[in-house]
Amino acid sequence: MTKFILRRLLLMLLTMFLVSVAVFAITSAAPGNVARNVLGIQITPEQEASFLAQNGLDKPMVERYISWLAGTDWRAAAKVGLGLKRIKTTDGFTEWWAVEEDGTMIRWVLEGEDLIARRQQADGSVVEQPDNGRWQIKDAKSEAARLQAYRAELQNDPQIAEADRQVILKPLDRILEILNSTDSQLSSPEALLSALAEPEGVLQALRDGEAAKQKQDLKNAGEEFAGKTALIQAIVVAQRLSDPAANELKQSDLQFMASQLSRASAKIKPVDPGLADQLQQAYESLKAGDAQAAKARMVEATPALIALTGNLGALADGLQNGDYLLAATVLRDLSDPAKMPFDEAQMAVLPEILGAAGKALQATQADLGDALLQAVENLQAGQTDEARKAFLQAADQLAAKGLVIARTDAAGKALVGRTFWGIDTQNHAVRWETGSGKEVWVFIQGTGWKAYSGGPAEYIPLQKGLVRGDPGVSLRTGRPVADLLYIRLRNSLILAGIAFVIVMPLALVLGVIAGLKEGKSSDRILSIGGMMFSVTPEFATGIFLIIIFSFWLKLVPGATVFGEKAPWSRPDMLVLPVLTLALIELGYVMRITRASMVDVMKAPYIRTAFLKGLPYRRVVMKHGIRNALMAPITVIMLHVNWLLGGIVVVEVIFGYPGLGSYLLDSALFKDFNAIEAGAMILVLVAVITQLLADITYTFINPRIRYS
């Protein structure tokens, strides 16, 4: 007996293992789709790659399977070098923190090149402190090679002032010397760090704390300015069409570009009808999907467009790409009467464009923006000379800013790259890197996409793993799957339990009656009726019941709305779901009982009992039923799989907040953590009932018990 149960338990474990592999393999079949499903189809390939990396979906299948099953925190803890702890916030989200030796919880964020530690205090508040001491030097050899290459680049970088270049080159050469030295005293990381401290200190002093933010602000302003100005968009369209990649543009892109050209054309029409006409033709070609014809038109139109806009497209480009020399040159050209006559056509469009540029800049760069807006006012008042002065002033300011930003950038790049494994604020273990210059897209729930440069290089999403009770975080809600899963499972078990309690006695009694009257009309009606109910799909039965009881008779509600409340708070809403489930089960169990009863009643010992002269009642009750019920009881348990299937559909029909509808919603959303966890729970329920069925059967059936 014990041996039998042990064997069954082992088999169950094996089955669960195979099932977990299957569930995992099937749901992870198409990870690319997950990103598109969650973030929408318009995400760029870089954003998709970032999303996959942050969710650990770019790792090999086996590694992901182990992480899913056994968690990642132990692996991450080894990399970080501190213990990790999972806490739950008051609003139901999980947070992972590293725990320092003294028990304080700590996480890190990267701001520019600076590592900031966020320590949680006893009162729950979080204190931020620079924590650059944790950086470790990346591989010295590869860093030496990178810096050597960067030195050559620095020599030819036109953005940097000559004086700055010389100041940076000196410590850079020193650093290279240290990295390349074969001195064995420098082989330990500590010695290397202390040797680097001096030249790196010089470089750090050259860096301006505001520069990174200013660079981002200028970039945003450039984007905003370009995006809001129809004529500049037309120039951008021309550039995109001339790009070799233009052949791969999708129909929707072409339509979008067409609409931009149409706007630009309308803007120019009063000023330059000929140019407007060219744009209009390009617009029509694009509309018809002919990118080649549109390109030819736009190549013709571009010089005129650039002249008309005073080359302000280049200003936008320069701001976006960090080419402040170019941007400043554009502004300087505006102040030069030889290059910019401010004729009638230009006067018709330029103030508006410059106004847009000024407004975009004003938000963050008040001095620049004000200068431009002042120039616009002057232009409109006819004071061209005043305007030219303002342009010159703006150009100088921009150039000065550009120099500071370029110096900061260059000094940053000349530093030796550092790396650090830590915990970020989005529940990943992250390997941060400096000096790589890579741009990383981070998706923050509720905020959207943000680009960070020189930041995270590798992610380990933190979770405890399925076997430790943490199947991860739902992609739909951002909350842990396990919490909701528990409530949903409870609701489903209530529904199934009520149906089970109602069905079983009824089905067994009806089945016995049908079996006793085999072949008679009451048997026929019961069997065919039972068969019809059991083979009709649940959704059809459910629809019939809704139409009859809630549409025609208006007796009970046709849907379940519980909100946060427990299902038992509204028993009237449970009537139809339970009835639907019961009808389907009823037919099945009844058929089994009937067949079993028919078999038993034909057995020799029943005939003997009759021949002994026992009354019919006694034969049936004492000899018939006891033996006849053995088969149905095990079959019922084995039938739990089917019942669970019915529950999914019934929950969807009536909007019942159970495990089944949760699974379906998750499957449609490709919320893989939720599907996998839900599926495993459902399978576990099924497997355990089957095990119970086997064990019960051996207890009920003496023939097996004593063999």
Partner: protein
């Protein structure tokens, strides 16, 4: 079939006719089987001759008559987009019973449900024969794998497969086949375990036949009776599954006339006062599945009686 009969010598005619006649007499003898056959034939014929039975196309929309009850113009009424329900019903039967749409231009004869069962039969029978006839570690591996598959609630297996590969008629066929394999393989295995002890198998082995020959030429044909009846029930399950998948939004993509998705859309308008779009497809799928079960039950009862 008719040709081969004509080419046969005249003397075999009576016995052949008698054999076919006796086959059908089983059918005619059972009232339940007759009723089932009648229902199934009704849907098969309606599906084949769908274009002749309605002037509407299943996707033609009539914005003036939305959610209308049965009338002379639309005998079963219309759905929320004003599409004729009778037309959608019989074109929906086509997808289930007589054609499998692969893409916009290509379709295969024989319905989606039946293809699913056929594919499942091929894979399941092969696995079942292998483990039943060859035994040993192959048997053990196959049976453990199948046990794991059987542990899945069927609907869950459908859900995660379709969620992973996307919904289309071809994928529905695949899902039906995958879900059907374990049951078929177990049945075939148990039959093969019985048949492999027979003398004619021993004889074939002594002749030195290839094991695959023995499995597919000696064992499989002799196990066909129970397999055919099981397959018939499985077509019922497959139709059931197609309906359920459609209802859950995992079936054929719209605007295909899919019974399950018709119910899923139609049920939203029940409490608004127009239950027709939900009633008819529910009735259709219920009647077809009940018909198939009556047919299979009747056949099984009759064949058992003379055994």
């Amino acid at each position: 079939m008719a040709e081969s009969e004509q080419s046969n010598p005249v003397s075999t005619h009576p016995s052949r006719w008698k054999r076919i006649g006796s086959r059908f007499s089983i059918l005619f003898a059972s009232k339940t089987a007759m009723i089932g056959l009648f229902i199934v034939l009704f849907w098969v014929l309606a599906a084949i001759f769908a274009p002749l039975l309605t002037p509407y196309s299943p996707t033609e929309q009539d914005y003036k008559a939305r959610n209308s009850p049965p009338s002379a113009a639309h005998i079963l009424g219309t759905d929320d987009l004003g599409r004729d329900l009778w037309a959608r019903l019989i074109y929906g039967a086509r997808v289930v019973l007589v054609m499998l749409p692969i893409n916009d231009h290509l379709w295969l004869p024989i319905g989606t449900a039946i293809w699913g069962v056929l594919l499942g039969l091929i894979v399941g029978a092969t696995l079942g024969l292998m483990s039943g006839y060859m035994r040993g570690w192959k048997d053990e591996v196959v049976m453990r794998g199948l046990d794991a598959m059987m542990a899945f609630p069927v609907i869950l297996l459908y859900m995660i497969i379709i969620a992973a590969v996307g919904s289309s008629a071809t994928n529905v066929v695949l899902a039906i086949a995958i879900v059907g394999v374990p049951g078929i393989a177990r049945l075939v295995r148990s039959l093969a375990l019985d048949i492999r002890t027979r003398d004619y198998i021993r004889a074939a082995e002594l002749r030195g036949e290839n094991p695959w020959y023995i499995m597919f030429v000696e064992i499989l044909p002799n196990a066909r009776g129970p397999i055919i009846i099981d397959a018939m029930l499985r077509v019922g399950y497959a139709i059931f599954a197609m309906g359920t998948l459609g209802f859950l939004g995992l079936g054929l993509p719209p605007p295909s006339a899919d019974w399950g998705s018709m119910v899923a859309v139609g049920r939203r308008f029940i409490l608004a006062g127009s239950p027709w779009a939900a009633i008819w497809p529910s009735l259709a799928i219920a009647s077809l599945v009940v018909g198939l079960n009556l047919l299979a039950d009747g056949l099984r009862e009759e064949t058992m009686r003379y055994q």
